[in-house]
């Protein structure tokens, strides 16, 4: 085993060596370094060919037409382009937008910005399993609703929203539907030919590609219009100007190509590892899974170890990289807004750890994690006055705390 162990694949993934190799061939003088927009010489033509191949590979994984793929700098930019772009284009039809409280900040903060511009946004609660209640979604729709943005896979708890049903409701009500799919390609089957989705954001670095590159799917039939946010040379059919980063694009294409080939076996393997990890924890006292376990990507396990604070647990697990919903891990001192939106108590949100496994995680690593987590949870519980009280049968919800 190579320490520290990496169990934070939802934060980012290493670039697959096969991807890195292809990228390196697009940089140096003897590589394909040309500007794909150069039409007058082979340097440009060669680069354009690679970009076209990458576009086809990205489109193939999600069963879209390559012409529907717009390159961006990452999922954050894609979210901004989709939401602001559609809101601005369709604002004459209405100014109401629907999204979820558990969305990524790239969606939430973009919506906040639109609120400042005069749009109205409904931020919907989710059920305690993290999934959207379709009736609540229907109820939130108004005459002037123009856009809904719902994430496919949640970054913290890994739950998979039913985007097909949500999209159908959007279609019935003539609402543009954007899906933030930063976390889902290669983990969940995506068939955009069939799915009622108008706009979908992708990222490369969550799927063993490089950071700094992403894409936005913009549906052609029926055609969805967005207003460009980046102006310049009119690249990407005017939707996103800027010289195409050939090496990044090639990396994303190769990452998506590999994912298409390997996702079935990889997900099966990850599912077994996740099962192994949870089997290692589930007989412990006061351990809770956050989010639905069934509608969830294979590599994610988000667990609260009650009466142990998440950051101190991470500090104890010093030879492994995990993340926590604990407030102490953020500058704001607020615990995870995602876990709170599930109705989890602040205590359980503070006590959560997120393990995300991926392509290079092994069973041996998982076994090490189980043993180490059990040991450290036990140690920290010995240090915890809350554990003492729990063991003495005190109901913590009845205690008058001196909050600060």
């Amino acid at each position: 085993m190579k320490f520290p162990l990496y169990l934070d694949y939802s934060a980012t993934t290493p670039v697959d060596p096969r991807v890195a190799e292809k990228m390196c061939a697009c940089l140096t003088p003897d590589g394909v370094f040309g500007n794909p927009a150069s039409r007058s010489h082979p340097f440009g033509w060669e680069a354009e060919k690679l970009v076209d191949q990458a576009r086809a590979d990205v489109a193939a994984l999600v069963n879209a037409n390559p012409k529907e793929i717009v390159w961006t700098s990452g999922a954050t930019e894609s979210d901004n382009l989709a939401i602001k772009g559609a809101a601005h284009f369709y604002q004459k039809k209405g100014k109401h937008i629907i999204t979820l409280k558990t969305e990524h900040k790239a969606v939430l903060d973009t919506c906040r910005q639109l609120e400042r511009e005069g749009f109205e946004v409904s931020y919907l609660d989710v059920r305690d399993d993290g999934l959207l209640d379709l009736d609540a979604f229907r109820d939130a729709i108004r005459e002037d609703t123009i856009l809904a943005s719902v994430m496919h896979v949640n970054n913290e708890i890994g739950v998979i929203q039913d985007i097909e049903s949500i999209g159908n409701i959007c279609r019935e009500n003539k609402i543009i539907f954007h899906v933030d799919a930063a976390q889902s390609p290669g983990k969940v089957e995506i068939d955009l030919e069939r799915l009622p989705v108008d706009l979908m954001s992708f990222s490369a670095h969550k799927i063993y590609g490089p950071k700094g590159i992403g894409a936005l799917y913009v549906q052609r039939k029926p055609r969805v219009r967005i207003e460009a946010q980046m102006h310049g040379g009119g690249h990407e059919r005017g939707m996103r100007s800027g010289t195409l980063a050939t090496h990044q694009i090639v990396g994303m294409g190769e990452a998506f190509r590999i994912a298409r080939e390997e996702m079935a076996s990889e997900n099966e393997r990850l599912f077994a590892l996740r099962q192994r990890l949870w089997d290692g924890f589930k007989d412990m006292e006061e351990v809770y899974i956050n989010g639905d376990l069934e509608h969830r990507i294979a590599g994610n396990l988000n667990v609260s170890f009650n009466f142990v604070e998440g950051e101190s647990l991470m500090m104890a697990l010093k030879d492994m990289a995990v993340s926590s919903g604990s407030a102490c891990t953020s500058a704001s001192l607020e615990p995870s807004y995602v876990l709170r939106a599930l109705g989890r108590s602040d205590e359980l949100a503070h006590s959560s750890l997120r393990f995300t496994m991926g392509r290079f995680t092994t069973a041996e690593e998982v076994d090490y994690v189980i043993a180490e987590v059990r040991k450290q949870v036990e140690r920290l519980r010995e240090l915890s006055p809350l554990w003492d009280m729990f063991k003495d049968g005190v109901d913590l919800s009845t205690v008058q705390w001196a909050a600060h």
Partner: protein, 127 residues
């Protein structure tokens, strides 16, 4: 966030973890913080007949800095009179542990804990 060596040292080898008899007349218990805020500190002190703290114990639910702050505090209060212990300032704890600004509240909690423990003791002795 990177922790100072002193925080890590206290976190890995916390001093004086445990429980004293909260009903004893010479034991004062201070419990501060709230689970919802992510930290709860329980500090107990035991005084001798001369009003000197002869033993101190803590248990803390919280981040590494909160655990280190309470561990350090138990070291500091032992052998001190109640007045001396009451005079301990959170800034001294923060300085000793080199706490970053976002963790200063952990030292505030420790100061609150010793004050609460002394108050509890006074309450008992006034009875």
């Amino acid at each position: 966030m990177a922790y100072s060596d002193k925080v890590i040292e206290h976190y890995e080898n916390p001093r004086n973890v445990g429980t004293l008899d909260k009903d004893a007349s010479n034991v004062g218990t201070g419990m501060v913080g709230a689970p919802a805020c992510g930290d709860v500190m329980r500090l107990q002190i035991q005084v001798n007949d001369d009003g000197v703290i002869e033993d101190a114990k803590f248990k803390t639910y919280g981040c590494g800095s909160a655990i280190a702050s309470s561990s350090l505090l138990t070291e500091w209060v032992k052998g001190k009179t109640l007045d001396e212990a009451r005079a301990i300032k959170n800034t001294e704890i923060a300085e000793e542990l080199a706490l970053p600004p976002v963790k200063v509240h952990c030292s505030v909690l420790a100061e609150d804990a010793i004050k609460a423990a002394i108050e509890d003791l006074h309450g008992k002795q006034a009875d």
